[in-house]
């Protein structure tokens, strides 16, 4: 399955790992903050509606 990368195995794999890690981090942080803000806003809106 794994293609033979020859003497550059480490190089190519590190490059892929680093990039995918960075992308995953970015997406995860975005989703995390997005979810938090969404929940917080809904709570706040519910509260303000209740209070008038």
């Amino acid at each position: 399955m794994m293609p033979d990368l020859g003497k550059y195995t480490d190089t190519v794999l590190t490059a892929y790992a680093a990039s995918i890690l960075l992308l995953a981090l970015l997406v995860a942080l975005s989703l995390w903050r997005g979810r938090r803000m969404r929940i917080e806003m809904e709570q706040l809106e519910a509260r303000t509606r209740r209070n008038g």
């Binding site: 399955m1 293609p3 033979d4 990368l5 020859g6 003497k7 550059y8 195995t9 190089t11 190519v12 590190t14 490059a15 892929y16 680093a18 990039s19 960075l22 992308l23 981090l25 970015l26 997406v27 975005s30 989703l31 903050r33 997005g34 803000m37 969404r38 917080e40 806003m41 706040l44 809106e45 509260r47 303000t48 209070n51």
Partner: protein
């Protein structure tokens, strides 16, 4: 709200509510398409392309390096346009979109830098060389850092939007200037651009097609991230406004 429904131009998406509603609907497709393109492109590139006769298996890095490098520049362009729209038409969504794109662009720049550095080790025998292309990317990264730091440092959202927009404008001019300056200062080692229209002579189809898919994947991912993060910024501002009103009312 009726006046908004009448207004069916593109600007109507500058209404935060409408923006949220619309993006909410297209988000799943965007995420899906981005994921599919990325997976297909990267798997194709990684598993099913041959090695280059000169660069060996390291060509496979191109599927990450080139798309991220392109997006790094395009993200800045997008921020520039969004900043101009904010300065001229004062649509808050556009300022928030610029803010949302900042970290995405910075990460893209970082990926281009990191993959480039890793690639440079076997190819040029060094992690880093002061090649103009590389150097101007480093400077671009600094611009991203400054832009994000300025957003983070200012409390008042409208002030922050104005200041960062002007910084983006001035920064663009200086980024271009830097590019020329750097070129003048050091003629480099880096490959020339080969993704132009007549690119087929430079890069073989075998590498070219999966590369295009990867680029599409990065573009889609960028759009998805920016839409999503703009939504987050809108909500964050709404929270701020609600809290402020609540406190002022109390």
């Amino acid at each position: 709200m009726s006046q908004i429904e009448k207004n069916s131009s593109l600007w109507s998406y500058a209404n935060p509510r409408k923006f949220l509603a619309t993006t909410e609907r297209v988000m799943p497709f965007l995420w899906g398409a981005a994921l599919v393109c990325l997976v297909v492109g990267l798997v194709w590139g990684f598993f099913f392309t041959p090695d280059d006769y000169r660069q060996g298996s390291t060509v496979k890095i191109i599927y990450l390096h080139v798309p991220s490098a392109l997006m790094a520049i395009n993200a800045w362009m997008m921020m520039l346009v969004a900043s101009l729209i904010w300065l001229v038409r004062r649509h808050h969504v556009s300022a928030l979109a610029a803010r949302a794109a900042g970290p995405v662009g910075a990460v893209m720049t970082l990926i281009a830098l990191v993959t480039g550095a890793i690639w440079g080790q076997p190819m040029w025998g060094t992690w880093w060389a002061w090649d103009p292309r590389l150097t101007s990317f480093l400077i671009l990264f600094l611009f991203y850092l400054g832009y994000m730091a300025l957003w983070a440092a200012i409390d008042d959202p409208d002030t922050a939007a104005d200041l960062t927009a002007v910084l983006c404008l001035v920064g663009s001019v200086f980024a271009v200037l830097s590019r020329y300056a750097v070129n003048f200062w050091n003629q480099g080692l880096h490959q020339g651009a080969s993704l132009s229209m007549d690119a087929k002579e430079n890069v073989d189809d075998v590498f070219y097609l999966p590369l295009l898919v990867c680029i599409a994947g990065f573009v889609l991912l960028f759009i998805a991230l920016v839409f999503y993060r703009t939504g987050t910024e809108i909500r964050a501002r709404r929270i701020r406004a609600l809290l402020a009103r609540e406190r002022a009312g109390a």
